[in-house]
């Protein structure tokens, strides 16, 4: 079975050593059972695999215990016990994180929030949603849709990820361009601190300038400062009219021009601007197995020759207004030749289909065996250069071939939230392989640093990028972060071996 071939983190990264944490004793397990009940404590090895392994099947821990509390009080009791016995913990949401942050490295206890999944309250006037951290993002959004509101975050993993996980990862996603980051929309949090104390700012109002804004520290803390148990978030009204245009372009310059013009001419209705290179569409086609939107006349036809594709979404309150605006914009960029071809969605099902050609890339990249993901921010003019540089580098080392199965790397594909200066680079591999990893890292981080980018735009640091933070943050910044970490968690029991 393929699963057995996957090496644990401890085996794959022998330089990482287990720290001096306590070991899980039968008494500890009994105690946890007394807190959460028999059924909420997982000790069966097969059942644990689900919690030990990340969704890319790249990182695997060896925990022998997963606890699934149902209340904040239970979380507090568990964490307090861990604090007293110096037991290490990994808070786990939907386990969709892409940097190995949500799974144990050694035998850390997995604290899964999946049973804390209730909506606590919703205010129909202000749009403030209060919910348990383990609420699945899609369920939150469906609930809001019923009430005419929208969750200010959307991403490909919405069917599995938790809103608490989103906050812990400070996820950006597909609508950041429109609704801004979680640092703006999260109003309050409930967090169990590493000693079991409950920090509660769930009743915070939109405007509250009394003291330091503590909740900000937990947004993007990736489980290192405490366990988020509740989220209060401000939700915007749900747009009534949504349109999608899917375009083919001849050059990366044209992508930038289109973005600049979309911003100026679509202005307040522009809600997403995503770009995809042809290679990514080629992979998506292998995965989706249907005709590409720009080559529909022949289902067997290849993805058309345009090197770049762009997906533009508009959201507004008046369909006629948005339609007219989008049409005028598209006509003008078609006429002056910036855009070579394109389609527009005519109904909801077409709209969803068009999105799959962007959202499906992530899964498509995982089809061949594995994927090295780099999620970076770069100044727009050099953004795509990174992908070209990596392809050339892998070719120089004779590691890449789309067709030759003896090469470890299939291809490098680029796509992402260009509207936010964020590109995803997926190095699709047939197997995880140290030669490939060494060829890519730290080279890729140095390149990003040299071009004034961030080595992690939205996926965080986790286990994967812990050692590379220095490429994006100064010594002063890192020292401050370490101070904060030791202030909150002097024993270092919260999500160790990661982040800093």
């Amino acid at each position: 079975m393929a699963v057995a071939l996957l090496m644990s983190c401890a085996e794959s990264y022998p330089q990482v050593k287990r720290l001096d944490f306590g070991k899980i004793t039968p008494q500890a397990v009994d105690f946890f059972r007394s807190v959460v009940g028999e059924a909420a404590v997982v000790t069966d090895q097969d059942d644990l695999l689900f919690y030990n392994e990340d969704q890319m099947r790249k990182y695997r821990g060896q925990s022998s215990l997963c606890i699934k509390p149902k209340t904040t009080q239970q979380v507090s009791e568990i964490v307090k016990y861990c604090h007293e016995h110096k037991l290490a913990l990994v808070p786990q949401g939907g386990n969709t994180g892409l940097v190995g942050g949500s799974v144990p490295v050694f035998d850390e206890i997995v604290l899964s929030l999946s049973s804390m999944n209730k909506i606590r309250s919703f205010d129909h006037t202000s749009g403030i949603l209060k919910a348990d951290a383990g609420l699945i993002l899609e369920n939150a959004d469906n609930f809001l849709a019923e009430n005419g509101y929208i969750f200010p975050l959307d991403l490909g993993a919405k069917g599995s990820c938790h809103i608490g996980g989103n906050v812990a990862a400070n996820a950006g996603g597909l609508r950041l361009l429109r609704y801004g980051s979680l640092h703006g929309s999260v109003l309050g949090l409930e967090v169990v601190l590493p000693d079991g104390t409950v920090y509660d700012s769930m009743n915070a109002l939109r405007k509250d300038n009394t003291g330091y804004d503590l909740k900000q520290l937990f947004i993007g803390s990736e489980g290192t400062l405490g366990v988020i148990t509740g989220v209060s978030i401000l939700c915007p009204a749900r747009p009534k009219a949504v349109n999608i245009a899917f375009l083919g372009l001849e050059s990366y310059e044209a992508v930038q021009t289109t973005f600049k013009r979309a911003r100026a001419e679509l202005c307040e209705v522009l809600s997403a601007f995503e770009f995809m290179d042809r290679q990514s569409q080629w992979q998506a086609k292998r995965f989706l197995k249907t005709a590409h939107p720009l080559a529909q006349d022949d289902p067997d036809a290849e993805v058309p020759e345009y090197p770049f594709y762009v997906l533009i979404e508009t959201s507004g309150s008046c369909k006629e207004h948005d339609d007219a605006k989008l049409e005028t914009f598209l006509e003008s960029i078609m006429e002056d030749g910036t855009v070579a071809d394109g389609v527009v969605s005519q109904d909801e099902s077409q709209l969803r289909t068009l999105w799959t050609w962007r959202e499906g890339i992530s899964e498509a990249s995982n089809m061949d065996g594995g994927v090295y993901k780099y999620d970076v921010s770069l100044p727009l003019p050099v953004m795509y250069e990174l992908i070209e540089v990596l392809r050339a580098r892998l070719d120089e080392h004779g590691l890449r071939s789309v067709s030759d199965a003896s090469k470890p790397v299939v291809d490098v594909v680029g796509y992402g939230h260009i509207g936010d200066g964020n590109v995803h680079v997926n190095v699709i591999v047939r197997e995880y392989n140290k030669t490939v990893e060494k060829c890519l890292e730290p080279y890729v981080y140095q390149w990003i640093s040299d071009h004034e980018g961030s080595i992690s735009a939205e996926h965080g640091l986790g286990f994967q990028k812990k050692n590379y933070i220095g490429y994006s943050k100064s010594e002063v910044e890192i020292a401050l972060m370490k101070d904060i970490k030791s202030k909150f968690d002097p024993q270092g029991i919260m999500n160790p071996y990661k982040y800093l």
Binding site: V339, D347, E348
Partner: protein, 256 residues
């Protein structure tokens, strides 16, 4: 009659198929304010089929004329039909009035006469009222043959048309000569996206706007909607711990 084929393509504007309709407060109809409308999916299939036929028989198909009976905003879906390949179009503007299938058929008959159409392709039903009547009534009014629920359409050289229909456990093939009516089923084809260049060209294609009076018809409805109600909410299931408990639960519910 000349041997050229002139297709009439009726299309209806309905609440988008992917959305969950909501009943209005008065319980007299479905909430339409702020809701997305699109072309009826079966009509979209009809459009696709008409274009397919035209592309496959360029020399024989003289024209495709799309028609919608609905509010002024139904121009949107006519533009889509034009962008996909219809040549000309008519909107019969009835404002927000509900038009029953018999009335729709009478209007379509007038348009058939006006445009001398000899092949009418339309959806087997509209997903808003699910009447599944228009094609059939129109065939009655025109006294034309009809092939309903088409899953495959084949136009022969002698102007006969063979239509496959999915029936229980198999396929039925019917054949008739033009003029005729075909109503479309879901599996007939897969509608495509509209490309931008075609969309731009469609702007220049003719779209005539008529009132029912212009066609010498007075709308009168024969049906009155008494009340609309949501179906009862499904009760959640429950887990039982043992077979005995299951049996006693079932007895309690008088299921056994």
């Amino acid at each position: 009659m000349s041997s050229k084929i002139r297709i009439l393509l009726p299309v209806k504007r309905v609440i988008d198929a992917a959305l969950k309709p909501r009943i209005n407060k008065a319980q007299t109809g479905v909430e339409a304010a702020g809701v997305k409308f699109s072309i009826n999916p079966f009509d979209d299939i009809a459009v696709e089929e008409a274009i397919k036929i035209k592309n496959a028989h360029k020399d024989r198909v003289e024209s495709i004329h799309a028609v919608s009976i609905g509010p002024n905003k139904a121009q949107d879906i006519l533009r889509v039909a034009l962008a996909k390949g219809a040549d000309t179009s008519t909107l019969v503007d009835v404002k927000d009035q509900e038009v029953e299938p018999l009335q729709v058929s009478k209007i379509l008959k007038k348009l058939q006469e006006k445009y001398n159409s000899n092949l009418i392709i339309l959806g087997k039903q509209a997903i808003d009222d699910d009447s599944n009547q228009t094609g059939q009534m129109l065939a009655g009014l025109l006294n034309w043959p009809q092939a309903t629920n088409a899953s495959k359409v084949k136009l022969n050289a002698d102007n006969t048309v063979e239509v496959e229909r999915e029936i229980d456990g198999g396929v039925e093939v019917v054949k008739a000569s033009l003029p005729m009516i075909i109503t479309t089923d879901l599996r007939l084809n897969e509608p495509k996206f509209v490309t931008l260049p075609k969309m731009m060209k469609a702007k220049k294609k003719p779209l005539e706007i008529l009132k029912v009076d212009d066609l010498g018809i007075t709308l009168e409805n024969r049906l009155e909607t008494v009340k609309l109600e949501d179906p009862p909410v499904r009760q959640g299931g429950a887990k039982v711990g043992s077979v005995d408990e299951l049996i006693s639960k079932l007895k309690e519910l008088k299921a056994i």
